[in-house]
Symmetry: C3
Subunit: 426 residues, 3 copies
């Protein structure tokens, strides 16, 4: 395959202005303030911890941002092979003019100071958005987020619902719902009303998706009112939910969310497959893993019951990708969404991207989202994806199928940007 | 890897005359009559439906073939990225001289008319067979197929047994068996006799395989007569089979088929992993999906019990391919068979083909079958496979292992043709 | 990708002297005595059997080594496509100057005699070690191995514990433990003491790892003493263990081993996923297969309970590789270990190697072990791995990430040798 061909396609993809359809950006503090915000990303803390740095050293309370970076740099050489490290290097090169081949104990302080100076500029946020060619950024908002204080045409609200579905048995979650909705929940009808208030609130602020992450054994099913009410009453009375009750309540709330997605015409992002707190002594956000033994067959009833709702689906286990491809190929309301977390490395993105492009209608593929917590990460993450996409377009479409370059690039544009606009109605 | 090398190997593979060891051809109407027979293939209807075309519009009763094609063309641009679409283009180019890069609302009528003129020629069937280099074509015959009216040395009967194994509880299936066998079934002995009559009939017409598709949770086991009889009596009395009875009866009939495969010296094609009607509102034949959580360990008892029977195995989930490779590597009676359905795209064929060629005895691999419903599809489907096979032979055998081209080509010939002859005794 | 670049990296990797961290070498008879020791490797006998040679013909008692080779050669042409066969050819070329492209009925006798002459040289063992660049070789020792009669600085003891964990219910295993430990086991306390004696003995002889292979459904858990004792008493009384008791006893012994690994500071090699005797009529060592439906989530409790123990993990199913990558990425005590058995072919090694290098801290990856029974196999097996590693280093690190060649080679050295030293404290 000609490298020149790949480069030409890549050049065109790099000129695209992007909408990032899933991030964890805090719109009130979107860019990093110091290099500690970059190196504090869980990918670096968890990998340094995995390589042998004690959690206590990484997360010691009260240490300064500079101290934190200095400590992580001690171990970071052990993870310089990882894709995650390559994002860090690309950030440092692109934003801070860093030219060394690695971050070491000898050069990190200068880098820290350079970064600090840049990040302290009043227009740093705009600089990053512009250099990263980011036009809009989807958020992940708690259900009780006030959604105020930021430009919702730039930072687009998404209603994240894990707490409601999986933690409504906890008093603090019930209180948060009561406060956010103004509804005193005492049965399934009022629970439904309370959830509806959230959708009202989010719609007023331009919400573009409902979203949730799900464990590998979750299977959404319609629960009849009486069964749901019985489980709900246990929760409301402050009792401990049995495993069965807990499932029932989760299913009821999940199903209710899907019903509101019909009413409010929202896509429902499903992020399937994560087991939380598998390693509870891990660093912050570095405790979750997965069980590859899951299947989209668990979502059969849901996909059939809600033909009006689009489900952009992310899968955590790479072995789930073929199911995602096949379910998107058959169900009109299932679309592929990005490359998530443990599947977000080139070794998995490339085969997954290739199979989707070969088998799913081209209008039903959301190529990529950054999943970032700080703005600076869109640049290297989308960069990684674009390079892979350019390679697959060159090889599978121009070389193997004789497409023109322009046609291949057009497919790339749809994948990177066009489908985000149509699927999320941006 | 040298493209010239791949092309030379491909050239040799393209000169091969083929036996297609699994299709759904109707021998009384093997080629297409209009372009609607091509575009009506479930891959196009289901993908257009997936891309947003209502089922009602695609399957409206009474519309003409031309109207049907016109409607599908409205949506087909959305699936022009798929491997399935590339088959369509190759058919149009190879058989109808189509030279445009896509089928659009502007060119489809001319294409339709050209295709109609070609397909109306009296020797169209022979033209397609010749141009596709097809010497023989295996069929998929209902157990009560009369097998008359066609040349069984060209169109080779295979006894398909899904209905018997999974739907014998239905009165219409029992009636079909009664009629086909002439045996009044009233216990397991007479059920066995009735099934034996089918094998007699098929053998008289040159049957070369028994075949079945199986859901991911099916586990063949020997069932003792009394247990089978108890379940059978429920069915015969018109009662509703319990889940357990249903499994018992399926296992009994399946095991009986395997026993007859010993007696009639037939390979038993197992196509493992499909869940039927997952999306019941999908278009015709576009409703089935799968659960990747299956294993060939479920077939352990079968493979051990029938060392005399060869089991050519197709797996639906790509994650099953390594098990298939490993079980074929260990069990003398297990052989790999083609690339089935959702695994039949280049992104999956290439790694699966590569692993089989590296690990399974070369005499135990059936490279490919078309699974086609209409004759025109053998050309693009085998074409796709041959290009991948040529690439793997060039890279893994000539480049990596230093084989001569002729030796690599010989391996390709065995894979594409020779093994079909020996395994199915053609 | 430039072939010259790959070759330069490969050249450097080939100059490395190796420590092979997992083999089945008998240190009292490490090299082969005749070609029958090479061709008698289960890969050749099982593949020839799979290709159609009766077990009885392969394993007929009393046949001479030469007769055995002659028989296998009759069938070996049918498996000349396999990676395993390529090892055989590389052995014959490298050690015996064989120059033909295949072993046939016409050339095998000469090859046999040439090999016999070489293998009969008094320093054959040293020749093989030197030509294979092997410095140290890890063993797989039965728990009651006397560990005497060989140089434990060359052949490094590892305590293999399958029999203890899974077969302690058998009288002969209990007798072997009694004899090896000198402890009369009558309760869990004395069982623990007996096991401790084994660790004492092994430590005195320089043991570097405890190791075990595990079925896909095994889930280690801490068992309380009374429950363990109840199961143990059934075993000690000669009774038949129920399935539950059997699991309880296995878990108790396994957990006890992990506790001793803390005390003796030993890594605990886990080889996860094998089902034994799936094909009981297969040839010796050619009877085992697997069920891909397994998950490292089954080891969650273990990994959390023993942060002081390093677990080098091998997975049998290739679909388990991403879990292994992800668990190694998160858990400090989980490291990736080689490419095992059915996953030890280039088609699987390459994607697995790639994903590990992109996502696991570089200090936590044991690139490869030979798993060999006879010394001659290290050369072709490590050769295969080095070629793949060189390719991945060239493509993913030098080409894609702009690393210098020297830096990529350094990563390769760590992967092939450095990590073996640090992880096993050699």
């Amino acid at each position: 395959m000609s490298q020149q061909l790949v480069q030409r396609i890549l050049g065109e993809l790099e000129s695209l202005v992007l909408i990032d359809p899933h991030t964890h950006i805090n719109p009130l503090a979107a860019p990093s303030k110091t290099l500690a915000d970059i190196l504090g990303y869980h990918y670096y803390t968890e990998l340094c911890h995995s390589a042998g740095m004690p959690k206590e050293r990484i997360e010691e309370p009260g240490i300064s941002p500079k101290e934190k970076v200095g400590r992580l740099v001690e171990k970071i050489g052990d993870i310089d092979n990882t894709a995650n490290y390559s994002w860090l290097m690309e950030i440092c090169r692109a934003f801070f003019g860093f030219e060394d081949t690695a971050i070491t104990k000898n050069n990190w302080e200068k880098l820290y100071d350079t970064a600090l100076a840049k990040m302290s500029q009043p227009d740093w946020e705009q600089q990053v958005l512009k250099q990263s060619k980011l036009e809009k950024v989807f958020l992940t908002n708690d259900f009780d987020d006030p959604l105020s204080g930021f430009d919702t045409s730039l930072y687009i609200p998404c209603l994240r619902t894990d707490d409601l579905v999986f933690h409504y048995g906890k008093p603090e979650v019930r209180e948060r719902l009561a406060k956010a909705s103004g509804v005193a929940v005492n049965n399934v009808a009022s629970l439904r009303t309370a959830i509806g208030k959230l959708f009202d609130h989010f719609q007023k602020h331009g919400v573009r998706a409902c979203a949730i992450s799900l464990p590998p054994d979750f299977s959404p099913q319609k629960v009849e009112g009486p069964a749901a009410d019985r489980a709900l009453q246990v929760a409301l009375s402050g009792g401990t939910l049995s495993a069965d009750d807990s499932v029932t309540l989760s299913r009821f709330i999940f199903w209710t969310l899907a019903e509101y997605c019909v009413e409010y015409r929202l896509p429902f992002d499903l992020m399937i497959g994560v087991n939380r707190r598998v390693y509870p002594n891990g660093v912050f956000q570095g405790q979750d893993l997965f069980d590859q033994r899951t299947s989209l067959i668990l979502y059969r009833e849901l996909f059939n019951a809600f033909p009006q709702v689009t489900f952009p689906i992310s899968v955590l286990a790479q072995v789930s990708n073929q199911e995602l491809v096949s379910y998107s190929w058959i169900f009109p309301n299932v679309v592929t969404n990005g490359h998530w977390w443990y599947s977000n490395i080139p070794a998995y993105i490339e085969p997954d991207c290739r199979s989707r492009l070969q088998a799913v209608p081209k209008t039903k593929q959301i190529g990529y989202y950054s999943d970032m917590y700080k703005l600076e990460f869109a640049l290297p993450k989308f960069g990684m994806y674009r390079r892979i996409l350019a390679k697959v377009l060159a090889q599978d479409f121009v070389m193997e199928r004789g497409w023109s370059e322009e046609r291949a690039i057009e497919l790339g544009r749809l994948n990177l940007r066009g489908n985000v606009e149509t699927i999320f109605n941006v």
